[in-house]
Symmetry: C2
């Protein structure tokens, strides 16, 4: 970077707004998969949209590529700096700017942690329903950029569905204020959609107006066991029909994963004993404190009568609600302990889930020898998380495991990323889920919004198709 | 059009696929606001995506602009041909192609009428919840292109929220298949968002995969009267809290509009007597046939006790459900009979709705003399429909009425189009709701996807900013 560019940045941000040299700590080049290869020269920390805009004007004139950082909790290696990039951190653009419970809206700076937003909503007797394990450290800007999903998608949708308006700074420093606060606004193109799920490649999200919902009055959770996948699917339909719009989670854990959780996470007490084929967490968020527990029990009782489940318990207290969720949340922890291993976040039809364990385990073992496969996830959303590994010594055959799993996903017309995004980690496999015409249009949009390829370059796809596979199969740890 | 272009189109579509000359009936240049000035030379009626693609390749090579037509029920003069345009009609691309109740998806051709989709879902014991008055003649392609709203947005969202995947033909004939069927799919940019609400300017939607929902088991409707706007808002919060996710409609009718409905629509019997300030239709769609009516009555009874309402009835039969909805649906009919008058479809915060009748009527009468103003709509969505007129003889001062209403909408930061779109009708006022940076990005997207400006040119905005106002204040009838 030329010195006049650096001088201009100091003029805009002041000393407190820039880190360089030894002041750049490891957190600016480390994500859940570990530290990246490149320590960035410079970390820019604007504290307003105006500063962000002026910074981008300078960087745009200097042809300087940037990588954007929120809470560094992303799972697809999208925010770790690559050679030649400087960091723009949202950490100083943090806070709830406005909350309007009557309108059901909250406006926040992009660097605000998700949990802060949840708590602000709660204090206003409302709920912001996006929820995921990283809630304490992930930021809403990252949630938006990756269109995060989480545990209550069947009832409230993904981050995209919870977003009314976005403010973003474009590659040339233009401030695009689309901070709409209305549920209905059909005045030309819905520009915010470009930035939600755009993984920071089309613009830098600086603020957002999000939807709040009336707080449900009840939360009832059931935990049960089923002996076949067909029974699990029938149970899902039964609960959907019986609980209607109050059904807020339907999470399924395959038997081997359940056993893994019980053995790997010491604090967990099994709500139902091991030994069955599937375990299901079912949650209802209702509006009738006098009757919802009974309604839930009647519904689950019907499932037992019809032999859809073989065992089941219903929460009787907030402590039990938490205890049942701890089992589900323990899945990520138990899977994480399998490192080195290869993790997946896929969408496929519920019909194609039935045989996935048998098919994949068979292919893994035939090709790679003895293997382990752990499966669980958001069944009603069509979204499963998988971890696969071989049991032999030596490094995991990462590419061959990915080829097997993504090959199967491609065969059944599934998606290689349900809720984590593409980043650099899945770039080589993007064509498995998207056509040549789609990729060409994505590149066209990138050229329109960021013709110099300065914003998170190489994330999702390489701008030139020839570069597509250059960096994409290199990450050592993938769980 | 040169003869070799015409020959090429006949070769692709055959005689049955093309109308010209006197075969072009009035329905190809007439919408709810009446016949347009221009009868098109040619109507092309492809019957497959493949044909549509070949047609667009020919037209693209010939620089021939087109206007796309579905059911011709749009309310913003977007589909009536302008000088030099030929028509592409979706009328032969019609039908349900696949339905999967287990996955909750249905895939349909873009020319399929909305009601056909609703009935197909119903036959599969599911519901496709998009619903609006034009259901029998509007097509899903038009619903998608305008991101239609309707009566159940608070529970199910707008068309955008109900759409999983889109297939579209681009301006150069490229087929873009993004027929994703998953709720969660974060594999790069969500390209379908460009076409939903794009009003046919960025691509021609040919097919869509839509979400189906489990059919609610109960439908309970209440109709009540309130004496102040504050009470209406308190009632909304009360019902939201009491019914939770089962609240599916909250529709408010201002007193003058209620009187208008009763006088203009002979078939309507008033559920509650006139004489109050506001009338509210509240709908619940629940999952518990044994208890939902009681739950609704208890909740509405609480509202009566707290003096949020002064009168109210609850449906006791499907016939009463229909009768109450007939009052709400009578609003469009009664407003339509006020022609010549000027209609509006706006979003604003619930707080700003309180004074809208007084403020606007005062401004109208001060400027234009004695005036009438009728208001009603989807309060919980922040969306109102208005009709305004002066009572004097002679033509309505359309532009001055629009300037007054849109001026107020601009003052309170509202939206000039909640659910109808922009078309050509509202083009002159688009800058009231969108910034210069937003309009510049919209034009950039248009140039990227349709560099020759062939698809629905001039709808939403003119490609050159200088042309913006050229055609936009000319439509004679606006209700």
């Amino acid at each position: 970077m030329q010195s006049h560019t650096r001088d201009a940045l100091y003029l805009i941000l002041g000393k407190g707004g820039i880190l360089q040299g030894t002041d750049v700590g490891p957190r600016y080049h480390t994500d859940p998969r570990g530290p990246g290869d490149t320590r960035p020269d410079l970390v820019l920390r604007p504290n307003s949209t105006e500063e962000m805009s002026r910074v981008m004007k300078v960087l745009h004139a200097a042809d300087q590529p940037v990588v954007v950082q929120g809470g560094m909790t992303g799972l697809v290696v999208g925010a770790v700096p690559q050679q030649g990039e400087i960091v723009i951190s949202l950490e100083r653009m943090n806070g709830v700017e406005a909350i309007d419970p009557a309108a059901g809206t909250i406006t926040v700076a992009a660097g605000t942690p998700l949990q802060v937003i949840q708590e602000a909503a709660d204090a206003a007797d409302m709920v912001f329903p996006l929820d995921l394990g990283a809630r304490g450290s992930c930021t809403i800007g990252g949630n938006l950029a990756t269109n995060a999903g989480g545990n209550r998608v069947i009832r409230y949708g993904m981050t995209r569905d919870l977003t009314l308006g976005i403010e973003a700074v474009l590659a040339d420093g233009t401030i695009l204020n689309s901070l709409n606060g209305f549920m209905k606004n059909n005045t030309g193109y819905d520009l915010k959609q470009l930035f939600i799920g755009g993984e920071g490649t089309l613009g830098l999200i600086t603020r957002a107006t999000l939807r709040l919902f009336p707080k449900p009055r009840t939360q009832v959770v059931g935990f049960c066991a089923a002996d076949s996948f067909d029974a699990v699917v029938a149970l899902m339909r039964h609960m959907q029909s019986g609980l209607g719009a109050d059904l807020s989670a339907f999470e399924v854990i395959w038997s081997k994963t359940y056993e893994l959780i019980l053995s790997e996470v010491a604090t967990i007490k099994p709500p139902t004993p091991a030994g069955h084929a599937f375990y299901v967490l079912i949650e209802m968020m209702g509006s009738d404190p006098a009757r919802d527990v009974e309604k839930f029990e009647t519904c689950l009782g019907g499932a037992l009568e019809h032999a859809l489940i073989v065992d089941g318990v219903v929460s009787r207290s907030d402590a039990e609600v938490r205890a049942f969720w701890d089992v589900r949340d323990g899945m990520a922890q138990a899977m994480g302990k399998q490192q080195p291993a290869v993790g997946f976040d896929i969408s496929l039809s519920v019909g194609d889930m039935k045989d996935i364990e048998n098919v994949l385990l068979d292919r893994l073992q035939t090709t790679l020898g003895e293997s382990r496969l752990f499966i669980g996830g958001h069944l009603a959303d069509g979204n499963l998380h998988l971890v696969a590994k071989t049991t032999g010594d030596g490094p995991q055959p990462r590419e061959r495991i990915q080829d097997i799993v993504y090959g199967y996903v491609g065969e059944v017309g599934g998606s290689i990323s349900a809720e984590h995004g593409i980043g650099t980690l899945k770039r080589a496999y993007l064509a498995q889920s998207r056509s040549a015409a789609e990729l060409a249009l994505m590149r066209g949009l990138k050229r329109t919004l960021d013709p110099k390829n300065l914003l998170n370059p190489g994330r999702i796809f390489a701008v030139s198709p020839d570069d597509q596979d250059r960096n994409s199969k290199e990450n050592p740890n993938d769980v």
